[in-house]
Protein backbone atom coordinates (compact mmCIF):
# COMPACT_ATOMS: atom_id res chain seq x y z
CA UNK A 1 0.00 0.00 0.00
CA UNK A 2 3.03 2.25 0.05
CA UNK A 3 2.25 3.73 -3.32
CA UNK A 4 -1.18 4.87 -2.23
CA UNK A 5 -0.12 6.43 1.04
CA UNK A 6 2.12 8.81 -0.88
CA UNK A 7 -0.54 9.92 -3.27
CA UNK A 8 -3.23 10.38 -0.64
CA UNK A 9 -1.01 12.75 1.30
CA UNK A 10 -0.27 14.61 -1.89
CA UNK A 11 -3.90 14.93 -2.86
CA UNK A 12 -4.71 16.50 0.48
CA UNK A 13 -2.11 19.16 -0.11
CA UNK A 14 -3.97 20.20 -3.21
CA UNK A 15 -7.47 19.80 -1.99
CA UNK A 16 -8.01 23.58 -1.89
CA UNK A 17 -9.45 25.88 0.72
CA UNK A 18 -12.76 24.11 1.08
CA UNK A 19 -11.13 21.04 2.57
CA UNK A 20 -9.72 22.96 5.49
CA UNK A 21 -11.36 24.02 8.70
CA UNK A 22 -13.09 27.39 8.53
CA UNK A 23 -10.89 28.91 11.23
CA UNK A 24 -7.65 28.25 9.36
CA UNK A 25 -5.78 31.32 8.13
CA UNK A 26 -6.70 32.33 4.59
CA UNK A 27 -3.03 32.33 3.66
CA UNK A 28 -2.75 28.62 4.42
CA UNK A 29 -5.04 27.75 1.53
CA UNK A 30 -2.92 30.01 -0.72
CA UNK A 31 0.20 28.25 0.50
CA UNK A 32 -1.27 24.80 0.10
CA UNK A 33 -2.51 25.49 -3.40
CA UNK A 34 0.56 27.25 -4.78
CA UNK A 35 3.61 26.56 -2.64
CA UNK A 36 3.24 23.25 -0.79
CA UNK A 37 4.15 21.03 -3.71
CA UNK A 38 7.72 22.33 -3.51
CA UNK A 39 7.89 23.74 0.01
CA UNK A 40 5.94 21.42 2.31
CA UNK A 41 7.78 19.48 5.00
CA UNK A 42 9.11 16.03 4.27
CA UNK A 43 10.76 14.27 1.35
CA UNK A 44 9.72 14.83 -2.24
CA UNK A 45 9.62 18.62 -2.05
CA UNK A 46 12.34 20.20 -4.22
CA UNK A 47 12.21 23.63 -2.57
CA UNK A 48 12.47 22.21 0.94
CA UNK A 49 15.29 19.97 -0.16
CA UNK A 50 17.19 22.86 -1.75
CA UNK A 51 16.75 25.12 1.27
CA UNK A 52 18.04 22.34 3.52
CA UNK A 53 21.16 22.16 1.36
CA UNK A 54 21.67 25.90 1.09
CA UNK A 55 20.48 27.22 4.46
CA UNK A 56 20.47 24.15 6.68
CA UNK A 57 17.66 21.90 7.91
CA UNK A 58 16.43 24.45 10.48
CA UNK A 59 15.54 26.87 7.69
CA UNK A 60 14.31 24.38 5.13
CA UNK A 61 10.55 24.36 5.79
CA UNK A 62 8.93 27.70 5.03
CA UNK A 63 5.98 27.18 7.37
CA UNK A 64 8.42 26.68 10.26
CA UNK A 65 10.54 29.74 9.54
CA UNK A 66 10.39 32.78 11.81
CA UNK A 67 12.89 34.93 9.93
CA UNK A 68 10.92 35.65 6.75
CA UNK A 69 9.96 39.28 6.23
CA UNK A 70 7.01 40.50 4.15
CA UNK A 71 9.24 42.33 1.66
CA UNK A 72 11.41 39.27 1.18
CA UNK A 73 8.45 36.96 0.57
CA UNK A 74 6.90 39.40 -1.90
CA UNK A 75 10.21 39.78 -3.73
CA UNK A 76 10.80 36.03 -4.04
CA UNK A 77 7.24 35.29 -5.15
CA UNK A 78 7.18 38.04 -7.77
CA UNK A 79 10.75 37.81 -9.06
CA UNK A 80 11.78 34.24 -8.29
CA UNK A 81 15.03 33.22 -6.66
CA UNK A 82 17.63 30.99 -8.32
CA UNK A 83 15.74 27.69 -8.69
CA UNK A 84 12.33 29.16 -7.89
CA UNK A 85 10.41 30.67 -10.80
CA UNK A 86 8.47 33.94 -10.38
CA UNK A 87 4.69 33.93 -9.94
CA UNK A 88 2.46 36.15 -12.04
CA UNK A 89 -0.38 38.26 -10.60
CA UNK A 90 -2.81 36.13 -12.59
CA UNK A 91 -1.64 33.13 -10.53
CA UNK A 92 -1.38 34.83 -7.13
CA UNK A 93 -2.94 38.29 -7.12
CA UNK A 94 -1.84 41.00 -4.72
CA UNK A 95 -4.64 40.27 -2.25
CA UNK A 96 -3.74 36.57 -2.15
CA UNK A 97 -0.06 37.45 -1.82
CA UNK A 98 -0.88 39.65 1.17
CA UNK A 99 -2.67 36.71 2.81
CA UNK A 100 0.29 34.45 2.05
CA UNK A 101 2.69 36.98 3.57
CA UNK A 102 0.50 37.26 6.66
CA UNK A 103 0.46 33.46 7.01
CA UNK A 104 4.20 32.99 6.59
CA UNK A 105 5.19 35.86 8.88
CA UNK A 106 2.87 35.88 11.86
CA UNK A 107 -0.48 34.48 10.82
CA UNK A 108 0.14 30.83 11.59
CA UNK A 109 -1.70 29.25 14.43
Amino acid sequence: MMRFSTSVGFALLFAGASAFAADEPAGKAIFDHNCAVCHAAGPGHPGTQRLAQARGPARAVLEQRTDLTPDYIRMVVRKGLIEMPPWRPVEIDDAALAQLVQYLTHGRK
Binding site: F14, P43, G44, Q49, R78, M84, P86, R88, V90
Partner: protein, 523 residues
Protein backbone atom coordinates in the same frame (compact mmCIF):
# COMPACT_ATOMS: atom_id res chain seq x y z
CA UNK B 1 11.81 48.16 -15.48
CA UNK B 2 12.41 49.53 -18.96
CA UNK B 3 9.78 48.99 -21.56
CA UNK B 4 10.70 47.32 -24.84
CA UNK B 5 8.23 47.95 -27.63
CA UNK B 6 7.69 45.34 -30.31
CA UNK B 7 9.68 45.96 -33.46
CA UNK B 8 7.72 48.09 -35.91
CA UNK B 9 5.18 49.36 -33.38
CA UNK B 10 5.20 53.02 -32.33
CA UNK B 11 4.59 54.25 -28.78
CA UNK B 12 1.21 55.72 -29.71
CA UNK B 13 -0.11 52.57 -31.36
CA UNK B 14 1.16 50.54 -28.45
CA UNK B 15 -0.55 52.78 -25.88
CA UNK B 16 -3.77 52.70 -27.91
CA UNK B 17 -3.62 48.90 -28.09
CA UNK B 18 -3.21 48.62 -24.32
CA UNK B 19 -6.17 50.94 -23.86
CA UNK B 20 -8.21 48.72 -26.18
CA UNK B 21 -7.12 45.63 -24.21
CA UNK B 22 -8.17 47.34 -20.96
CA UNK B 23 -11.61 47.97 -22.39
CA UNK B 24 -11.92 44.24 -23.09
CA UNK B 25 -10.62 42.74 -19.84
CA UNK B 26 -10.62 45.63 -17.37
CA UNK B 27 -7.65 47.57 -16.00
CA UNK B 28 -6.71 44.93 -13.47
CA UNK B 29 -5.91 42.30 -16.09
CA UNK B 30 -3.50 44.34 -18.20
CA UNK B 31 -0.01 44.23 -16.75
CA UNK B 32 2.92 46.55 -17.41
CA UNK B 33 6.10 47.67 -15.64
CA UNK B 34 6.98 45.87 -12.41
CA UNK B 35 3.97 43.57 -12.78
CA UNK B 36 5.78 41.91 -15.69
CA UNK B 37 8.50 40.31 -13.57
CA UNK B 38 6.62 37.01 -13.66
CA UNK B 39 6.79 36.97 -17.45
CA UNK B 40 10.59 36.80 -17.55
CA UNK B 41 12.22 33.56 -18.69
CA UNK B 42 13.32 32.22 -15.29
CA UNK B 43 16.18 30.12 -16.63
CA UNK B 44 17.30 32.22 -19.58
CA UNK B 45 20.37 30.73 -21.22
CA UNK B 46 21.34 33.68 -23.41
CA UNK B 47 23.42 36.65 -22.28
CA UNK B 48 20.88 39.28 -23.33
CA UNK B 49 18.40 39.58 -20.47
CA UNK B 50 15.98 41.40 -22.75
CA UNK B 51 16.00 38.82 -25.54
CA UNK B 52 12.59 37.51 -24.52
CA UNK B 53 11.23 40.45 -22.51
CA UNK B 54 7.50 41.14 -22.72
CA UNK B 55 6.23 44.70 -23.17
CA UNK B 56 2.92 44.00 -21.43
CA UNK B 57 0.56 41.16 -20.64
CA UNK B 58 -3.20 40.84 -21.00
CA UNK B 59 -5.26 38.13 -19.30
CA UNK B 60 -8.68 37.41 -20.84
CA UNK B 61 -11.33 35.41 -19.02
CA UNK B 62 -13.20 33.98 -21.98
CA UNK B 63 -12.95 33.01 -25.65
CA UNK B 64 -14.98 36.10 -26.52
CA UNK B 65 -12.38 38.29 -24.81
CA UNK B 66 -9.61 36.46 -26.70
CA UNK B 67 -11.40 37.28 -29.95
CA UNK B 68 -11.74 40.95 -29.00
CA UNK B 69 -8.05 41.16 -28.04
CA UNK B 70 -7.01 39.58 -31.35
CA UNK B 71 -9.10 42.12 -33.27
CA UNK B 72 -7.53 45.00 -31.36
CA UNK B 73 -4.05 43.56 -31.93
CA UNK B 74 -4.80 43.49 -35.66
CA UNK B 75 -6.04 47.06 -35.56
CA UNK B 76 -2.85 48.37 -33.92
CA UNK B 77 -0.38 45.84 -35.30
CA UNK B 78 0.66 44.70 -31.84
CA UNK B 79 2.03 41.13 -31.60
CA UNK B 80 0.65 38.72 -28.99
CA UNK B 81 2.25 35.60 -27.46
CA UNK B 82 -0.30 33.15 -25.98
CA UNK B 83 0.61 31.12 -22.88
CA UNK B 84 -1.76 28.80 -21.04
CA UNK B 85 -0.34 28.10 -17.57
CA UNK B 86 3.12 29.48 -18.40
CA UNK B 87 4.90 26.67 -16.55
CA UNK B 88 6.96 25.26 -19.39
CA UNK B 89 9.96 26.43 -17.41
CA UNK B 90 12.83 24.79 -19.26
CA UNK B 91 11.49 26.06 -22.58
CA UNK B 92 10.96 29.74 -21.70
CA UNK B 93 7.94 29.66 -19.32
CA UNK B 94 5.62 32.66 -19.91
CA UNK B 95 8.14 34.74 -21.88
CA UNK B 96 7.65 35.51 -25.57
CA UNK B 97 10.03 34.55 -28.36
CA UNK B 98 10.36 38.15 -29.64
CA UNK B 99 11.23 40.99 -27.28
CA UNK B 100 8.40 43.47 -26.91
CA UNK B 101 5.60 41.00 -27.68
CA UNK B 102 2.53 41.30 -25.45
CA UNK B 103 1.84 38.07 -23.56
CA UNK B 104 -1.71 36.80 -23.98
CA UNK B 105 -1.99 35.07 -20.61
CA UNK B 106 -4.78 32.48 -20.68
CA UNK B 107 -4.39 31.34 -17.06
CA UNK B 108 -7.72 32.90 -16.03
CA UNK B 109 -9.53 30.70 -18.53
CA UNK B 110 -9.49 27.77 -16.14
CA UNK B 111 -12.88 26.14 -16.50
CA UNK B 112 -13.27 22.37 -16.69
CA UNK B 113 -16.24 22.44 -19.01
CA UNK B 114 -17.09 18.76 -18.99
CA UNK B 115 -15.84 15.41 -17.79
CA UNK B 116 -17.55 12.30 -19.13
CA UNK B 117 -16.85 9.26 -17.00
CA UNK B 118 -18.84 7.06 -19.33
CA UNK B 119 -17.02 8.08 -22.50
CA UNK B 120 -13.67 8.90 -20.87
CA UNK B 121 -12.85 12.47 -21.80
CA UNK B 122 -12.61 16.04 -20.51
CA UNK B 123 -13.18 19.37 -22.23
CA UNK B 124 -10.95 22.06 -20.76
CA UNK B 125 -9.82 25.65 -21.19
CA UNK B 126 -6.13 26.60 -21.46
CA UNK B 127 -5.67 27.65 -17.82
CA UNK B 128 -6.66 24.24 -16.40
CA UNK B 129 -3.59 22.63 -14.85
CA UNK B 130 -3.05 18.92 -14.27
CA UNK B 131 -3.57 19.54 -10.57
CA UNK B 132 -6.91 21.27 -11.30
CA UNK B 133 -8.21 18.41 -13.43
CA UNK B 134 -6.84 15.75 -11.10
CA UNK B 135 -8.47 17.36 -8.05
CA UNK B 136 -11.75 17.75 -9.93
CA UNK B 137 -11.78 14.07 -10.91
CA UNK B 138 -10.95 13.02 -7.34
CA UNK B 139 -13.61 15.29 -5.87
CA UNK B 140 -16.25 13.88 -8.21
CA UNK B 141 -15.10 10.32 -7.66
CA UNK B 142 -14.82 9.54 -11.33
CA UNK B 143 -13.05 6.28 -12.14
CA UNK B 144 -10.79 8.00 -14.63
CA UNK B 145 -7.04 8.58 -14.79
CA UNK B 146 -5.24 11.56 -16.17
CA UNK B 147 -1.98 11.27 -18.01
CA UNK B 148 0.47 13.77 -16.53
CA UNK B 149 3.89 15.02 -17.58
CA UNK B 150 6.54 15.60 -14.91
CA UNK B 151 5.55 19.20 -14.08
CA UNK B 152 2.02 18.78 -12.71
CA UNK B 153 1.37 22.52 -12.58
CA UNK B 154 1.44 22.76 -16.39
CA UNK B 155 -1.60 23.16 -18.62
CA UNK B 156 -3.46 20.08 -19.90
CA UNK B 157 -4.18 21.92 -23.14
CA UNK B 158 -0.81 23.62 -23.46
CA UNK B 159 1.17 20.45 -22.88
CA UNK B 160 -0.71 18.59 -25.61
CA UNK B 161 -0.18 21.50 -28.02
CA UNK B 162 3.55 21.44 -27.26
CA UNK B 163 3.70 17.68 -27.99
CA UNK B 164 4.29 16.85 -24.35
CA UNK B 165 4.31 13.29 -23.07
CA UNK B 166 3.30 11.46 -19.92
CA UNK B 167 3.74 7.97 -18.61
CA UNK B 168 0.50 5.99 -18.67
CA UNK B 169 -0.69 4.13 -21.77
CA UNK B 170 -2.19 7.52 -22.78
CA UNK B 171 1.27 9.14 -22.71
CA UNK B 172 1.18 10.72 -26.19
CA UNK B 173 -0.91 13.74 -25.29
CA UNK B 174 -1.62 15.13 -28.75
CA UNK B 175 -2.66 11.66 -29.89
CA UNK B 176 -5.21 11.64 -27.05
CA UNK B 177 -6.54 15.10 -27.93
CA UNK B 178 -9.98 15.21 -29.56
CA UNK B 179 -11.66 18.38 -30.79
CA UNK B 180 -10.59 22.00 -30.44
CA UNK B 181 -12.06 25.45 -30.37
CA UNK B 182 -9.65 27.93 -31.92
CA UNK B 183 -9.64 31.71 -32.17
CA UNK B 184 -7.92 32.48 -35.47
CA UNK B 185 -5.47 35.40 -35.52
CA UNK B 186 -8.12 37.59 -37.13
CA UNK B 187 -10.53 36.84 -34.28
CA UNK B 188 -12.86 34.32 -35.94
CA UNK B 189 -13.81 31.33 -33.78
CA UNK B 190 -13.59 27.81 -35.27
CA UNK B 191 -14.36 24.36 -33.91
CA UNK B 192 -12.53 21.40 -35.41
CA UNK B 193 -13.63 17.84 -36.14
CA UNK B 194 -17.19 17.01 -35.10
CA UNK B 195 -17.37 20.37 -33.31
CA UNK B 196 -18.07 22.01 -36.67
CA UNK B 197 -21.42 20.19 -36.81
CA UNK B 198 -24.01 22.23 -34.90
CA UNK B 199 -25.38 20.32 -31.90
CA UNK B 200 -22.92 17.47 -32.42
CA UNK B 201 -22.57 15.13 -29.43
CA UNK B 202 -19.36 13.53 -30.71
CA UNK B 203 -16.95 16.53 -30.59
CA UNK B 204 -14.76 14.78 -28.00
CA UNK B 205 -15.34 11.27 -29.40
CA UNK B 206 -14.27 11.35 -33.06
CA UNK B 207 -11.21 13.34 -34.02
CA UNK B 208 -11.52 13.63 -37.76
CA UNK B 209 -15.00 14.93 -38.60
CA UNK B 210 -15.23 15.50 -42.34
CA UNK B 211 -12.60 16.96 -44.61
CA UNK B 212 -8.99 17.84 -43.77
CA UNK B 213 -7.87 17.07 -40.23
CA UNK B 214 -6.52 20.37 -38.95
CA UNK B 215 -5.96 19.97 -35.21
CA UNK B 216 -2.24 19.30 -35.50
CA UNK B 217 -1.85 22.59 -37.34
CA UNK B 218 -2.52 24.42 -34.10
CA UNK B 219 0.21 22.59 -32.16
CA UNK B 220 3.68 24.15 -31.77
CA UNK B 221 2.41 26.81 -34.16
CA UNK B 222 1.21 30.40 -34.39
CA UNK B 223 -1.87 29.80 -36.51
CA UNK B 224 -4.51 30.26 -33.81
CA UNK B 225 -5.24 30.49 -30.08
CA UNK B 226 -6.77 27.25 -28.82
CA UNK B 227 -9.50 28.21 -26.35
CA UNK B 228 -11.00 24.77 -25.65
CA UNK B 229 -9.67 21.26 -26.12
CA UNK B 230 -10.93 17.74 -25.58
CA UNK B 231 -8.59 15.19 -24.01
CA UNK B 232 -9.24 11.49 -23.61
CA UNK B 233 -8.95 10.04 -20.12
CA UNK B 234 -8.07 6.45 -19.31
CA UNK B 235 -10.62 4.34 -17.42
CA UNK B 236 -9.14 3.25 -14.10
CA UNK B 237 -7.77 -0.26 -14.71
CA UNK B 238 -8.59 -3.16 -12.39
CA UNK B 239 -4.94 -3.48 -11.40
CA UNK B 240 -1.72 -1.49 -11.45
CA UNK B 241 1.85 -2.56 -10.71
CA UNK B 242 4.79 -0.17 -11.23
CA UNK B 243 8.27 -1.63 -11.62
CA UNK B 244 11.90 -0.68 -12.05
CA UNK B 245 14.68 -2.58 -13.82
CA UNK B 246 18.30 -1.51 -13.37
CA UNK B 247 21.29 -2.28 -15.61
CA UNK B 248 24.84 -2.03 -14.45
CA UNK B 249 26.99 -1.09 -17.45
CA UNK B 250 27.02 1.88 -19.82
CA UNK B 251 27.13 -0.40 -22.85
CA UNK B 252 23.99 -2.26 -21.70
CA UNK B 253 21.96 0.54 -23.26
CA UNK B 254 22.27 -1.03 -26.71
CA UNK B 255 20.93 -4.43 -25.67
CA UNK B 256 18.23 -2.91 -23.45
CA UNK B 257 16.83 -0.77 -26.27
CA UNK B 258 16.84 -3.68 -28.71
CA UNK B 259 14.96 -5.85 -26.21
CA UNK B 260 12.56 -3.03 -25.50
CA UNK B 261 11.56 -2.28 -29.11
CA UNK B 262 9.46 -5.40 -29.86
CA UNK B 263 7.97 -5.31 -26.36
CA UNK B 264 6.82 -1.72 -26.85
CA UNK B 265 5.75 -1.99 -30.50
CA UNK B 266 3.86 -5.20 -29.63
CA UNK B 267 2.27 -3.48 -26.61
CA UNK B 268 3.62 -5.97 -24.08
CA UNK B 269 4.99 -2.84 -22.42
CA UNK B 270 1.75 -0.91 -22.17
CA UNK B 271 2.83 2.52 -21.06
CA UNK B 272 5.25 5.23 -22.11
CA UNK B 273 8.14 3.57 -20.27
CA UNK B 274 11.41 5.42 -19.75
CA UNK B 275 15.09 4.54 -19.46
CA UNK B 276 16.80 6.98 -17.09
CA UNK B 277 20.49 7.59 -16.79
CA UNK B 278 22.32 7.13 -13.50
CA UNK B 279 22.81 10.78 -12.64
CA UNK B 280 19.26 11.85 -13.44
CA UNK B 281 17.95 9.24 -11.01
CA UNK B 282 20.64 9.96 -8.42
CA UNK B 283 20.10 13.73 -8.57
CA UNK B 284 16.60 13.42 -7.15
CA UNK B 285 18.15 12.52 -3.80
CA UNK B 286 21.77 13.63 -3.93
CA UNK B 287 23.96 16.53 -4.98
CA UNK B 288 27.21 16.54 -6.91
CA UNK B 289 29.05 18.16 -4.01
CA UNK B 290 28.33 15.10 -1.83
CA UNK B 291 30.65 13.14 -4.09
CA UNK B 292 33.27 15.55 -5.37
CA UNK B 293 34.40 19.14 -5.34
CA UNK B 294 36.25 18.71 -8.62
CA UNK B 295 35.02 19.90 -11.98
CA UNK B 296 35.02 17.57 -14.97
CA UNK B 297 33.43 14.20 -15.71
CA UNK B 298 32.81 12.00 -12.70
CA UNK B 299 35.25 9.06 -12.63
CA UNK B 300 33.96 5.52 -12.77
CA UNK B 301 34.77 5.00 -9.09
CA UNK B 302 32.32 7.74 -8.09
CA UNK B 303 29.65 6.52 -10.48
CA UNK B 304 29.91 3.05 -8.90
CA UNK B 305 29.64 4.58 -5.43
CA UNK B 306 26.48 6.44 -6.40
CA UNK B 307 25.01 3.24 -7.83
CA UNK B 308 25.73 1.41 -4.59
CA UNK B 309 24.48 4.25 -2.35
CA UNK B 310 21.12 4.45 -4.07
CA UNK B 311 20.82 0.86 -5.32
CA UNK B 312 20.36 2.06 -8.89
CA UNK B 313 21.92 1.20 -12.22
CA UNK B 314 23.83 2.99 -14.93
CA UNK B 315 20.50 2.78 -16.77
CA UNK B 316 17.10 2.32 -15.14
CA UNK B 317 13.78 1.41 -16.73
CA UNK B 318 10.64 2.70 -15.03
CA UNK B 319 7.47 1.06 -16.32
CA UNK B 320 4.12 -0.23 -15.12
CA UNK B 321 1.66 -3.04 -15.68
CA UNK B 322 -2.05 -2.33 -16.05
CA UNK B 323 -5.05 -4.66 -16.05
CA UNK B 324 -6.51 -7.67 -14.25
CA UNK B 325 -3.86 -9.44 -12.12
CA UNK B 326 -3.57 -12.52 -14.38
CA UNK B 327 -2.89 -10.22 -17.36
CA UNK B 328 -0.27 -8.29 -15.38
CA UNK B 329 1.34 -11.54 -14.22
CA UNK B 330 1.61 -12.78 -17.80
CA UNK B 331 2.99 -9.52 -19.15
CA UNK B 332 5.52 -9.36 -16.32
CA UNK B 333 6.76 -12.85 -17.08
CA UNK B 334 7.53 -11.82 -20.65
CA UNK B 335 9.14 -8.53 -19.61
CA UNK B 336 11.25 -10.09 -16.85
CA UNK B 337 12.39 -12.99 -19.03
CA UNK B 338 13.30 -10.62 -21.85
CA UNK B 339 15.45 -8.29 -19.75
CA UNK B 340 17.00 -11.15 -17.77
CA UNK B 341 19.17 -11.69 -20.83
CA UNK B 342 21.11 -8.56 -19.86
CA UNK B 343 23.86 -9.62 -17.40
CA UNK B 344 23.37 -8.02 -14.00
CA UNK B 345 19.79 -6.82 -14.59
CA UNK B 346 17.88 -6.25 -11.33
CA UNK B 347 14.10 -6.17 -10.99
CA UNK B 348 12.11 -4.22 -8.40
CA UNK B 349 8.51 -3.57 -7.43
CA UNK B 350 7.47 -0.73 -5.18
CA UNK B 351 7.72 -2.82 -2.03
CA UNK B 352 11.39 -3.48 -2.86
CA UNK B 353 12.31 0.22 -2.81
CA UNK B 354 12.33 1.23 0.84
CA UNK B 355 14.50 4.36 0.62
CA UNK B 356 12.94 7.67 1.51
CA UNK B 357 11.89 9.54 -1.63
CA UNK B 358 13.04 6.69 -3.88
CA UNK B 359 12.35 7.62 -7.49
CA UNK B 360 10.06 4.63 -8.03
CA UNK B 361 7.66 6.14 -5.46
CA UNK B 362 7.36 9.25 -7.61
CA UNK B 363 7.21 7.26 -10.84
CA UNK B 364 4.49 5.08 -9.31
CA UNK B 365 2.34 8.20 -9.02
CA UNK B 366 3.31 9.59 -12.42
CA UNK B 367 2.57 6.31 -14.21
CA UNK B 368 -0.96 6.34 -12.77
CA UNK B 369 -1.56 9.98 -13.58
CA UNK B 370 -1.07 11.63 -10.19
CA UNK B 371 0.57 15.04 -10.72
CA UNK B 372 3.72 15.83 -8.78
CA UNK B 373 6.78 18.05 -8.91
CA UNK B 374 9.02 15.96 -6.69
CA UNK B 375 11.41 14.89 -9.43
CA UNK B 376 12.44 18.47 -10.04
CA UNK B 377 14.79 17.99 -7.12
CA UNK B 378 17.19 16.89 -9.84
CA UNK B 379 17.96 20.54 -10.62
CA UNK B 380 19.56 20.74 -7.17
CA UNK B 381 22.33 18.39 -8.40
CA UNK B 382 24.63 21.32 -9.12
CA UNK B 383 22.45 24.20 -7.87
CA UNK B 384 21.84 27.40 -9.73
CA UNK B 385 18.42 26.56 -11.10
CA UNK B 386 19.04 26.74 -14.83
CA UNK B 387 18.02 23.75 -16.88
CA UNK B 388 17.16 23.20 -20.50
CA UNK B 389 16.10 20.14 -22.47
CA UNK B 390 17.91 18.90 -25.58
CA UNK B 391 15.57 16.38 -27.15
CA UNK B 392 16.61 14.62 -30.36
CA UNK B 393 14.46 11.80 -31.70
CA UNK B 394 15.77 8.46 -32.99
CA UNK B 395 14.47 5.00 -33.91
CA UNK B 396 14.10 2.51 -31.05
CA UNK B 397 17.40 0.81 -31.91
CA UNK B 398 20.28 -0.01 -29.62
CA UNK B 399 23.01 1.26 -31.92
CA UNK B 400 21.17 4.56 -32.43
CA UNK B 401 20.68 5.01 -28.69
CA UNK B 402 24.37 4.32 -28.03
CA UNK B 403 25.39 6.68 -30.81
CA UNK B 404 23.24 9.47 -29.41
CA UNK B 405 24.39 8.77 -25.88
CA UNK B 406 28.09 8.89 -26.70
CA UNK B 407 27.74 11.95 -28.95
CA UNK B 408 25.94 13.98 -26.32
CA UNK B 409 27.89 12.66 -23.31
CA UNK B 410 31.23 13.48 -24.89
CA UNK B 411 30.19 16.99 -25.89
CA UNK B 412 28.73 17.74 -22.47
CA UNK B 413 31.86 16.47 -20.75
CA UNK B 414 34.02 18.54 -23.09
CA UNK B 415 32.11 21.68 -22.07
CA UNK B 416 32.09 20.79 -18.37
CA UNK B 417 28.55 19.46 -17.89
CA UNK B 418 27.29 16.16 -16.51
CA UNK B 419 25.22 13.85 -18.70
CA UNK B 420 21.71 13.16 -17.41
CA UNK B 421 18.92 11.95 -19.63
CA UNK B 422 15.69 10.09 -20.20
CA UNK B 423 15.12 7.84 -23.17
CA UNK B 424 11.32 8.04 -23.43
CA UNK B 425 9.82 5.29 -25.57
CA UNK B 426 7.01 6.31 -27.89
CA UNK B 427 5.06 4.22 -30.36
CA UNK B 428 7.95 3.86 -32.81
CA UNK B 429 10.62 6.28 -31.59
CA UNK B 430 12.98 7.19 -28.80
CA UNK B 431 12.86 10.70 -27.42
CA UNK B 432 16.35 11.25 -26.00
CA UNK B 433 15.61 14.02 -23.52
CA UNK B 434 18.90 15.37 -22.15
CA UNK B 435 18.79 17.74 -19.17
CA UNK B 436 21.52 20.36 -19.29
CA UNK B 437 21.92 21.99 -15.89
CA UNK B 438 23.59 25.38 -15.48
CA UNK B 439 23.89 28.11 -12.87
CA UNK B 440 21.61 30.91 -14.04
CA UNK B 441 23.75 33.41 -12.09
CA UNK B 442 27.01 32.58 -13.86
CA UNK B 443 27.39 34.25 -17.30
CA UNK B 444 30.41 32.11 -18.21
CA UNK B 445 28.56 28.85 -17.54
CA UNK B 446 25.50 30.09 -19.40
CA UNK B 447 27.68 30.97 -22.37
CA UNK B 448 29.14 27.45 -22.39
CA UNK B 449 25.67 25.92 -22.12
CA UNK B 450 24.41 27.98 -25.04
CA UNK B 451 27.46 27.09 -27.14
CA UNK B 452 27.27 23.37 -26.51
CA UNK B 453 23.52 23.36 -27.09
CA UNK B 454 23.84 24.98 -30.53
CA UNK B 455 26.72 22.63 -31.38
CA UNK B 456 24.68 19.57 -30.38
CA UNK B 457 21.75 20.73 -32.52
CA UNK B 458 24.03 20.96 -35.56
CA UNK B 459 25.77 17.67 -34.87
CA UNK B 460 22.51 15.84 -34.25
CA UNK B 461 21.06 17.19 -37.50
CA UNK B 462 24.18 16.13 -39.41
CA UNK B 463 23.63 12.61 -38.07
CA UNK B 464 19.93 12.69 -39.04
CA UNK B 465 18.43 13.49 -35.63
CA UNK B 466 15.98 16.35 -35.08
CA UNK B 467 14.67 17.83 -31.81
CA UNK B 468 10.95 17.54 -31.12
CA UNK B 469 10.65 20.65 -28.96
CA UNK B 470 12.87 23.44 -27.77
CA UNK B 471 13.43 26.60 -25.77
CA UNK B 472 12.55 30.02 -27.19
CA UNK B 473 16.20 30.82 -27.84
CA UNK B 474 16.72 27.85 -30.16
CA UNK B 475 13.51 27.76 -32.20
CA UNK B 476 15.18 29.21 -35.30
CA UNK B 477 18.13 26.80 -34.96
CA UNK B 478 15.89 23.74 -34.76
CA UNK B 479 13.54 24.92 -37.51
CA UNK B 480 16.53 25.38 -39.83
CA UNK B 481 17.50 21.73 -39.42
CA UNK B 482 14.14 20.61 -40.89
CA UNK B 483 15.30 21.89 -44.26
CA UNK B 484 14.66 19.09 -46.76
CA UNK B 485 14.07 20.25 -50.36
CA UNK B 486 15.19 23.82 -49.84
CA UNK B 487 13.16 24.29 -46.66
CA UNK B 488 9.91 23.28 -48.33
CA UNK B 489 8.18 22.62 -45.00
CA UNK B 490 9.02 26.06 -43.62
CA UNK B 491 7.81 27.64 -46.85
CA UNK B 492 4.48 25.85 -46.40
CA UNK B 493 4.32 27.06 -42.79
CA UNK B 494 4.92 30.60 -44.00
CA UNK B 495 2.23 30.31 -46.68
CA UNK B 496 -0.28 29.20 -44.03
CA UNK B 497 0.93 31.89 -41.66
CA UNK B 498 0.42 34.66 -44.17
CA UNK B 499 -3.05 33.35 -45.06
CA UNK B 500 -4.44 33.01 -41.52
CA UNK B 501 -2.54 35.93 -39.95
CA UNK B 502 -2.08 38.58 -42.66
CA UNK B 503 -1.07 41.28 -40.17
CA UNK B 504 1.43 38.95 -38.50
CA UNK B 505 0.26 39.58 -34.94
CA UNK B 506 0.22 36.08 -33.44
CA UNK B 507 3.36 34.68 -31.78
CA UNK B 508 6.06 35.88 -34.17
CA UNK B 509 8.92 33.40 -34.28
CA UNK B 510 7.09 30.46 -32.68
CA UNK B 511 8.82 27.27 -33.89
CA UNK B 512 10.86 29.45 -36.25
CA UNK B 513 7.74 30.62 -38.11
CA UNK B 514 7.92 34.38 -38.67
CA UNK B 515 5.15 36.43 -40.25
CA UNK B 516 5.94 38.36 -43.43
CA UNK B 517 6.36 41.63 -41.50
CA UNK B 518 9.36 40.26 -39.59
CA UNK B 519 10.73 37.76 -42.10
CA UNK B 520 13.34 40.04 -43.68
CA UNK B 521 14.46 41.72 -40.48
CA UNK B 522 14.01 38.94 -37.95
CA UNK B 523 14.35 40.45 -34.46
Amino acid sequence: MKQILPQGVGATEFADALQAFRKVVGNEFVYTGEALSGYADPYSIVADDDAHAASAAVAPGSAEQVQAILRAANQYGVPLWPVSCGKNLAYGAAAPRMAGTVVLDLKRMNRILEVSEEDGYALVEPGVSYYDLYNHIQAKGYKLWLDVPDPGWGSVLGNALEHGVGYTPYGDHLAMQCGMEVALPTGELVRTGMGALPDSNTWQLFKYGFGPYLDGMFSQSNFGVVTKMGIWLMPEPPGYRPYMISFQREEDLEQVVDILRPLKVGMVIQNAATIRSLLLVAAVNATRSQYTDKAGPLPDSILRRIMADQDIGMWNIYGALYGPPPVMDTLWTVIRDSFSKVPGAKFYFLEDRKRENDLLIGRADAMRGVPRLSEFSFINWTGGGGHIGFSPVSPIRGKEAMKQYTMVRDRLHEYGFDYMSIFAIGWRELHHVVELLFDRRDPAIKHKAEDVFRLMVREAAAAGYGEYRTHLSFMDDIAATYGWNDHALMKLHQTIKDAVDPKGILAPGKSGIWPARYRRSRP
